[in-house]
């Protein structure tokens, strides 16, 4: 991909009057030496796998290795059956789908890393929930996923998307930024609105650490997927009415990278600090390792 910054992307989009997703698919075709149609087929494979993960996750209540997690989605479904979500059907589906996918992941089930496995519920939950509720056709969902992809890709040029390198801001945080961009694309927003949505979402998660309890992708990872799915919608709503981030997105990416460097190694997927060192976490650790 020859586009290394969001400024490059914006300029190309405005100069050539092309949507961001179109630039993404054309650049990918060029790089991978395949046709644009083949790129879209590969994206569709990812989208289909995302939908299967949601479907499997919604059905299962199998617990994870730890025995603590795996049935939160089921609890949510039961509540929604009796009483719909306060914020309506889209909210209901995003929270349920994000939990379903994240729980499927911790069972060592089949999911799509987007950008990582720990953050695998965010982009799919937003795309699939909104598509279902707003009757958005598959081809527009592919456009959304392509948009999400190029957003994550540009960030990854400056920051490795791994909790161990830059904390959760580089995983769930970037996923939320990608989902915000995808959502604006699916709702017919402009290039600037897409980039603003991505910027707003990213700015709000700076500093998010990666402190999983007992080193498992469970606490706080699973529920964070639901939170940051909804978070992406907030960013999209703001961007679609013309709210702008005062700090340009490329500079936010720089901050994300530097914040990752400044973050203590104790808070970067080592489980040596944060939630992982709370009294309760240490007790859980004792129980867990005794079982083994």
């Amino acid at each position: 991909m020859t586009i290394l910054s969001f400024e490059d992307l914006r300029n190309k989009s405005l100069e050539e009057n092309k949507s961001i997703y179109r630039i993404a698919e054309e650049e990918e075709a060029l790089l991978s030496e395949i046709t644009v149609d083949m790129v879209r087929i590969k994206v569709l494979e990812d989208l289909t796998a995302m939908k299967s993960a949601i479907k499997n996750g919604l059905k299962s209540t199998e617990k994870a290795i730890s025995g603590w997690c795996g049935d939160d989605c089921d609890k949510l479904k039961k509540r929604y059956r009796v009483q719909g979500a306060l914020f309506g059907k889209v909210f209901e589906k995003i929270t349920a789908y994000a939990l379903a996918t994240a729980e499927e992941n911790l069972r060592m089930g089949r999911i799509v890393a987007c950008p990582t496995a720990g953050s695998c519920g965010i982009v799919p939950s937003v795309i699939v929930a909104v598509a279902e509720e707003k009757n958005i056709p598959e081809t527009k969902q592919i456009d959304g996923l392509l948009t999400a992809g190029i957003i994550g890709l540009i960030v990854s040029n400056k920051v490795q998307l791994a909790g161990a390198v830059a904390g959760c801001q580089a995983e769930c945080g970037v996923a939320s930024s990608m989902a915000a961009g995808a959502l604006v694309e699916m709702l017919g927003g402009s290039t600037d609105e897409i980039l603003q949505a991505a910027a707003l979402a990213m700015k709000n998660i700076l500093g998010l650490t990666c402190d999983p309890v007992c080193g498992l992708v469970e606490v706080p990872c699973i529920k964070r997927n639901a939170f940051l799915g909804v978070h992406a919608v907030t960013a999209a709503e703001l961007a679609l009415c013309g709210v702008e981030s005062k700090i340009p997105i490329d500079e936010i990416v720089d901050v994300l990278q530097r914040t990752g460097q400044l973050m203590s190694p104790l808070l970067k997927e080592t489980s040596l600090g944060g939630l992982a060192k709370t009294k309760t976490a240490l007790e859980l650790e004792k129980v867990l390792f005794k079982q083994d």
Binding site: M1, T2, L4, A24, E27, E28, L31, S32, V39, K42, V43, E45, D46, A49, I65, S66, E104, N105, L106, R107, M108, G109, R110, I111, V112, A113, C114, P115, T116, A117, G118, C120, V123, L145, L146, G149, I150, G152, L153, S156, N157, Q160, L161, A162, G163, A164, V165, A170, M178, P212, C214, G215, L216, V217, P265, K268, E269, T270, S271, L272
Partner: protein, 217 residues
């Protein structure tokens, strides 16, 4: 800056729970398999830093072994790999060493070859050392790997053999243990080098080892 694919961000389709600690581990194992090529009966994995502290909860141990045995990142058998494997002796060591990448591993196969690599995020990996020699294999290209006596003219001789087959060299990476000692060369190619190229390079004077490392799917 190196160009990356969109599918480095919205893939792989994989079994959970962690792209760096599970899929990355499987891919490191697969890459080691592609490098070692032979059957083996014994393997030791040395896990560093975050791989060591949180690897257990992410299935890193299972992923590394499954990869080395050829399972792909989305194979749902990975979670049961310890119940499946009986004919290979495997062990794990856990080490903290801040000079290494946060997600790093040494894979020691049959006490004969030591392959070191990192999981650099989103399932992407890098093999950076084989038997003490710096290499740079990311698994995104077919790579020709050779060890030879450090002396003038080797790069040009090898490049000439590749060029005659009209294969384009994407990247070239060299290292050595000492001047006039043993050197290594990693050549990423746009299309895989055939056995004819490997055999021709083998015939060059002072080439100790040459192999063709296939890229990951």
């Amino acid at each position: 800056m190196e160009q990356k694919s969109l599918f480095s961000v919205i893939s792989p389709i994989m079994v959970g729970p962690s792209s760096s600690h599970t899929a990355g581990a499987v891919r490191l194992g697969l890459m080691a398999k592609n490098i070692y090529k032979n059957k083996f009966s014994k393997v030791k994995f040395v896990l560093y830093n975050s791989f060591a502290t949180t690897g257990f909860g992410h299935g890193t141990d299972k992923g590394l072994l499954a990869g080395l045995l050829g399972y792909s990142v989305d194979d749902s058998l990975i979670k049961d790999i310890f119940n499946i494997v009986h004919d290979v002796q495997y062990s794990y060591d856990y080490v903290q060493d801040i000079s290494r990448h946060p997600n790093s591993v040494d894979i020691i196969i049959d006490d004969t070859m030591k392959i070191s690599g990192d999981s650099v995020g989103a399932g992407e990996i890098r093999i950076n050392n084989i038997d003490g020699f710096d290499v740079n294999i990311k698994g995104t290209y077919d790579t020709l790997l050779l060890m030879y006596k450090d002396k003038p003219g080797m790069i040009s001789e090898v490049a000439d053999i590749i060029q005659r087959q009209r294969i384009n060299i994407a990247t070239l990476h060299c290292g050595r243990n000492a001047k006039g000692g043993v050197a290594s060369m990693c050549i990423e190619l746009d299309i895989p080098a055939g056995d004819d190229i490997v055999n021709e390079i083998k015939k060059l004077n002072d080439v100790f080892f040459v192999t063709n490392v296939r890229k990951l799917k």
